[in-house]
Symmetry: C2
Subunit: 338 residues, 2 copies
Amino acid sequence: MQSQLKTHPHRRFNILTGEWVLVSPHRTKRPWQGKTETSAKKEEITYDPKCFLCPTNTRINGEVNPDYKNTYVFKNDFGALLEDTPLFEYNEGLLHAEGEKGICKVICFSPNHSLTIPDMEIDDLVTVVDTWKNEFTELGNDKDINYVQLFENKGAIMGCSNPHPHGQIWAQHSIPTEVQKKTTAQKNYLEKNGTGLLQDYIEQELKEDVRVISQNESFVTLIPFWAVWPYEAMIVPKRQMTNILGLTDKEKRDFAEQLKTLTQKYDALFDTSFPYSSGIHQAPTDGAYYKEWHWHMSFYPPLLRSATVKKFMVGYEMFAMAQRDITAESAAEQLKSL
Amino acid sequence: MQSQLKTHPHRRFNILTGEWVLVSPHRTKRPWQGKTETSAKKEEITYDPKCFLCPTNTRINGEVNPDYKNTYVFKNDFGALLEDTPLFEYNEGLLHAEGEKGICKVICFSPNHSLTIPDMEIDDLVTVVDTWKNEFTELGNDKDINYVQLFENKGAIMGCSNPHPHGQIWAQHSIPTEVQKKTTAQKNYLEKNGTGLLQDYIEQELKEDVRVISQNESFVTLIPFWAVWPYEAMIVPKRQMTNILGLTDKEKRDFAEQLKTLTQKYDALFDTSFPYSSGIHQAPTDGAYYKEWHWHMSFYPPLLRSATVKKFMVGYEMFAMAQRDITAESAAEQLKSL
Ligand SMILES: O=P(O)(O)O[C@H]1O[C@H](CO)[C@@H](O)[C@H](O)[C@H]1O
Ligand SMILES: O=P(O)(O)O[C@H]1O[C@H](CO)[C@@H](O)[C@H](O)[C@H]1O
C-alpha cells in the first residue's frame, strides 16, 4: 500500500483543514526553463546604518529605536489593521462586510542585523519565545482582540523587505479563516473520539517514523502527511496545550532547540539562507476555553529543488487545489539526513 | 455606510467560497523597499526555433508539432496527472490518501509566438473558445473524469516557463477543493431562495454599477466585491449556464470580446504584458445535473501598483486570511477608465 504513494499520483487529506493536496511523485524530473530566483546569501554586517530595525536608528515615522540588547517590539508603522477601527456591519443584498479592528506589530529577534534564527544561540531563542508569550498575553487580554497571529516572512522571495531578522504579529477582532478550519476539525475530533486530534496524529507519526525530522523530550518536528509546500514542516509540542502560555521553562528550551535544528537543516539543504513563512497557530483569545486546540508552528518554504527554483502556486493550485511533486516522506528523509 | 468601506480596515465575505478577505484601504501609501520584478515586455518574434510550442518544432519528448494554423492541443509531456493511475484508497489511522487519475494538456492559443490574448483578433479568440468547448466535451465524456479545469498561467512571475501564448487543462477524477466550495454555496443558495446565486449577484452589481468594468449583451466583467488579488476580475455570462457548452454563437463572440477588452485594459494599466492566472470554473462532469452552477472565468493577477511591484500572499495570508490594500471599487474605477 505504502508503495503506491511513492509511485502514483494521488491526493492526500489534511486532517486539520479538511482540504486535499494533489501529489505527483513521478514528476520530479520535469525540466525547468522558467523564472529563477537569486540565491539568498546571509547578510554579513552586524549593523546597517540605513536599516529601520537596527538599534539606535530612526524609522520612517521619525521614531528612534532604543539601543536594545535582545528582542525589540514596536507597532508596525504601516499596519494593515488599526486600533481605532469601528466594528461596523455592512449588509446590502449579497454584499457582506464588517469593520475589522486590530493591531500589527514587528518583533526584532536580535539587535544583530545578520543573525537569523538558525544562527542564534538557544538562550537568545528562548528570549524570542518569551517575547512571543508576553505579546500573546498582552494582546490576548484585550477584550477586542480575539485572535493573535505570530508569524515570520523570511527572505525577499517571501515579501520580506528588510533582511534584519524579524517577525510580525497581527492581532484582530475576528477569527481568521485558517484558524476556524483548524478549530472545527479539532473540535469535531475531540467530540467524536474523546482524544486530541494532534495528540493522536503525532503518536502515529512517532510510531511510523517516516516523516519525523527530529525530536526531543517535549517537541517533534515533522513533515505532515498532507504537506503542500515541498519542504513544509511542523513543530508540535508532544503535550497538548491550547497556546504557548503553558510552556514550562524546560519546554521553552526544547522548543528553541527544535526551532534551531529545523532552520539549520533548511539552510544546509540548498546551501542558502533558506526563505520561508512560518506561523504559530493557537487557540483564539475570545475568552472561551478551546480545550480541543493543540498549538503548533508551521513552516511554508517556497523552494522546490535548489536555491533558485521555487514552486509556483498558480493556475491549477489557485482554481482547483494545492499540488506538489516530491512526497512528504522523501522531503523528510532529505532533511533528517542533514 | 458605503463610505466606511473606503476608509476603515474591514473584512468582506466571498459568497462563492464562504471565506473572508481583509481589506486595508488606508494602507496604499506603504513604501516598498523589497523585491521587485522585471517588467514583462511583449515578445517580438512570431516564430522562435527553440520554442517547444511553435509550429513544426520538436518537443522535449521528440514529438514534432504540426504546422498548425490556429489552436493546437497536446498532452503535457510532464503532466502532474496520468491516465493510467489506479484509483486505490489508503487509510492508515489518521492518514488518508486516494489514487488520482487524470490528464494534463496544453493548448497553444495561436501559432504566433508573440500573440497574447489582448492582441488576438475576436475571430481567433472564438476559435480558442471552440477549442475549450471541444476539450471540455471530450474530457467530460470520459467516465473517469469528473472535473475539467481550464486555466492559463501568463508571465514568468506566474510560473509560466514559455512565453508562447498557451493555456492548460488539468482534468481529474476527484472534484477539487475550490470547486466543491463553489458548488456548496450555489446549491445552498438555490435551495433557500429558488434563484441562482450569481444571477442575483450580477443583477445587484449591474444596478450598483461601482465594480463593473465593462459589459455587452451576454457578459459582464467586474471586480468581485470580495476580490483578493489587487486587480482580480471575473467575466460572468448574464444568462445562467452550468458550463461553456451552452454558449450560442453570439455568446461565444460576446465572451471573446470581453476577454479581449479585459486583457487589453490589464496591459494598459501598468504598460506591461500583464501577468495573471486565469481559470474557468464550471460544474463537475460526473454525470449529475448541477442546476445551481453558473460558470464564470476569473483572473488573479499578482501586480500591486506597478509593472515591478507585486502583492505577496505570504505569512499572514497563509496562516490567517487573504489581505488586500486597494478596494475592489477603486480597482474597478481604474480599469473602467482605461
Ligand atoms: O505546467 P507548467 O506550466 O510547467 O507549470 C506551472 O503551472 C502548474 C499548474 O498551475 C504549476 O503546478 C507549476 O508550479 C507551474 O510552474
Ligand atoms: O508587513 P510587510 O513585511 O511590509 O509585508 C509583507 O507581509 C505581509 C503579511 O504577510 C503581507 O501582507 C505583505 O504582502 C508582505 O509584503
